[in-house]
């Protein structure tokens, strides 16, 4: 008997709980050759801003033990080019597309939210208040409950689409941020974004990244991500999307048990472009093998 893998996040119906994480799956096109895009629950596109953004100088990425640091600096084509060049492809694929976006001021966030609200091909919005790479950027919002709440409630007024808020792990108490964003009108919370880290080139006596610090992702951060998802699931009512070091179906199911209603696969797509598809298939197989009829019965089912 085929298990029911469907979940609903903030009103978006997903064929399965496996999404791709922002910034790790481009605009989905890039992976069309390697993945059947209609076997994935949803994609989240690369962080988008009003104007095109140059991003940081290179080097922008470096491998670390069990993970990687990135300081892309939110390079993106800007909303106009996004609508002109990227949306047509998204329309052609029968899988919900969620747009991750950011701004440097509340006004920019709001303008983005209202413009994205006009694009029918977009199923939902993910607010990035937590990208640790841009100095004057999101980090401020992502680590202060007050600011976070302001941005979220402002965006809430600007869009009727599903509003997901993506939380930063670089905080003392993630549950405070989670509650603030929920109360400000978030339909769902996604976590975690990257942990701020640094790598040094001993021979050159310099930081490896041109930006000095970067965001740590990959298997290395999974224990921190699982802990935060579990903590947040205990104190909010809105659904949670678990992110952080998910490499296989087992990892994904652990996040579901911890309280996530869906997951996002990030760095894993770099190592294995078909990771998201394989994880979704692997989860379904596990449920079938164990005789679990519905994935929803596993959400938060940790004893």
């Amino acid at each position: 008997m085929k298990p029911d893998m469907s979940v609903t996040i903030a009103g978006i119906n997903l064929r399965n709980p496996v999404m791709t994480a922002s910034g790790t799956f481009g605009y989905a096109e890039e992976f069309a050759e390697y993945v059947d895009l209609e076997t994935i629950g949803a994609f989240v596109t690369k962080g988008l801003s009003l104007k095109p953004k140059a991003g940081n100088p290179t080097p922008r990425i470096v491998e670390t033990p069990g993970g990687m640091l990135n300081a892309i600096g939110l390079q993106n084509v800007g909303i106009d080019a996004f609508i002109a060049k990227k949306v047509p492809f998204l329309r052609s694929v029968n899988t919900p597309a969620i747009v991750n976006f950011f701004g440097n001021t509340i006004d920019e966030y709001v303008e983005m939210a209202s413009r994205l609200n006009e694009i029918p091909e977009i199923a939902g919005l993910e607010i990035n208040i937590s990208c640790p790479n841009v100095k004057q950027g999101g980090i401020v919002f992502g680590t202060d409950p007050q600011c976070a709440a302001e941005v979220v409630s402002a965006c809430r007024k600007a869009t009727t689409k599903a509003l997901i808020v993506k939380l930063s792990p670089n905080v003392t108490d993630v549950t405070v941020m989670a509650r603030a964003c929920q109360d400000a009108g978030a339909d769902a919370l996604s976590l975690i974004n990257t942990l701020t880290g640094m790598a040094i080139d001993l021979e050159r006596r310099k930081p490896v990244l041109a930006n000095i610090t970067g965001g740590l992702s990959g298997p290395a951060i999974k224990p921190v991500a699982l802990r935060m998802v579990w903590q947040v699931s205990k104190c909010v009512k809105v659904p949670i999307i678990g992110i952080g070091g998910i490499m296989n179906a087992t990892d994904a199911l652990e996040f579901i048990l911890a309280g996530a209603s869906a997951v996002q696969v990030g760095t894993a797509s770099f190592i294995n472009p078909s990771a998201a598809q394989e994880i979704a298939a692997g989860m379904e197989k596990w449920l079938a093998d164990k005789g679990v009829a519905d994935i929803k019965s596993l959400i938060g089912a940790l004893e």
Binding site: G23, T24, F25, G26, E30, F31, E33, Y34, K46, P52, K53, A54, G55, T58, P59, R60, I61, V62, E63, P65, G66, G67, M68, N70, I72, Q75, G218, P219, M247, T267, S269, F270, I271, N272, P273, S274
Partner: protein, 272 residues
């Protein structure tokens, strides 16, 4: 494409430089000179990321034992510089690897009339062998190979076997002319002969010099770049390099893995 590949051979061709031959699907034989592969060194998380390598050559492997079907293969020529390449050097025949490729944009082969000049520094020769093999079919090809010492001059005999005219320069003079390969290149150009096209791969400094020389002589020059890569498919934006018109306000970053690794030298912002 993504495929599981079996190692057919893996041996050291010069101190610190290894050549690996691996099985490939039939379609892989369509790989263009200058394209690359991303190799997953093992199935563990150390190293985590794939490693990019130029495609040295592709061909058909006929097993010794009779009756066995011929097997398409490809080769990489790699230098052991760190964790991943050390692990690769430790692998044996019949070991399996997960491979992504052929990736990126290869070299434009140009027209038969042109004289072709290939410039390679050290392991930069890797993607140039297959290129030479194609070019010699229609044009006269000369190779300028440079390196720090003789050990960095790779596979010259293979190039000569193709009928390529080879000029070698080493910084310590242990092989060929003593000095930078670009110096040899300049002198050859000074006696400017007709239509010429340049192909280069090697250290960034060398590529910048070659691109500069080509610009002076108004010669079409293609360079193959490197960059730190995570995805290899244009998604992570980790590998970008500034284009000619790049400024922070008018970003003009080119994606090395997807728009390259081969670029028209004039299209790039070489910085200082």
């Amino acid at each position: 494409m993504q495929f599981k590949s079996m190692i057919l051979s893996n041996s050291e061709v010069s101190p610190g430089y290894w050549k690996m031959r691996m099985t490939a699907p039939t379609e892989f034989s369509l790989a263009q000179p200058g394209q690359f592969v991303m190799v997953r060194v093992n199935s563990a998380i150390d190293p985590l990321l794939r490693r990019p390598f130029g495609i040295f050559d592709v061909g058909m492997h006929t097993p010794d034992y009779s009756g066995a079907a011929a097997q398409p293969y490809f080769e990489i020529l790699y230098r052991v510089v760190g964790k991943g390449t050390s692990m690769l050097a430790g692998l044996h025949e019949t070991d399996q690897l997960d491979v992504l490729g052929p990736l990126g944009k290869g070299f434009d082969l140009g027209t038969a009339a042109e004289r072709k000049i290939i410039v390679g520094g050290g392991v930069g020769l890797a993607p140039l062998y297959m290129l030479a093999r194609e070019l010699v079919k229609q044009s006269s090809v000369s190779l300028y190979a440079g390196g720090r010492t003789r050990d960095d001059i790779l596979c010259i005999t293979e190039f000569e076997r193709l009928g390529v005219e080879c000029y070698v320069a080493t910084e310590d003079g242990s092989l060929g002319k003593c000095g930078l390969v670009t110096e040899a290149l300049v002198s050859s150009l000074s006696n400017g002969n007709g239509e010429t096209s340049i192909y280069a791969c090697g250290p960034h400094g060398m590529l910048k010099a070659v691109a500069g020389i080509a610009a002076e002589h108004d010669i079409y020059c293609q360079v193959s770049l490197e960059g730190y890569m995570a995805c290899g498919v244009g998604a992570c934006l980790g590998c970008v390099t500034p284009g000619r018109n790049h400024t922070v306000d008018t970003p003009d970053f080119r994606c090395v893995c997807a728009e390259g690794p081969v670029f028209d030298g004039k299209e790039l912002g070489w910085g200082c």
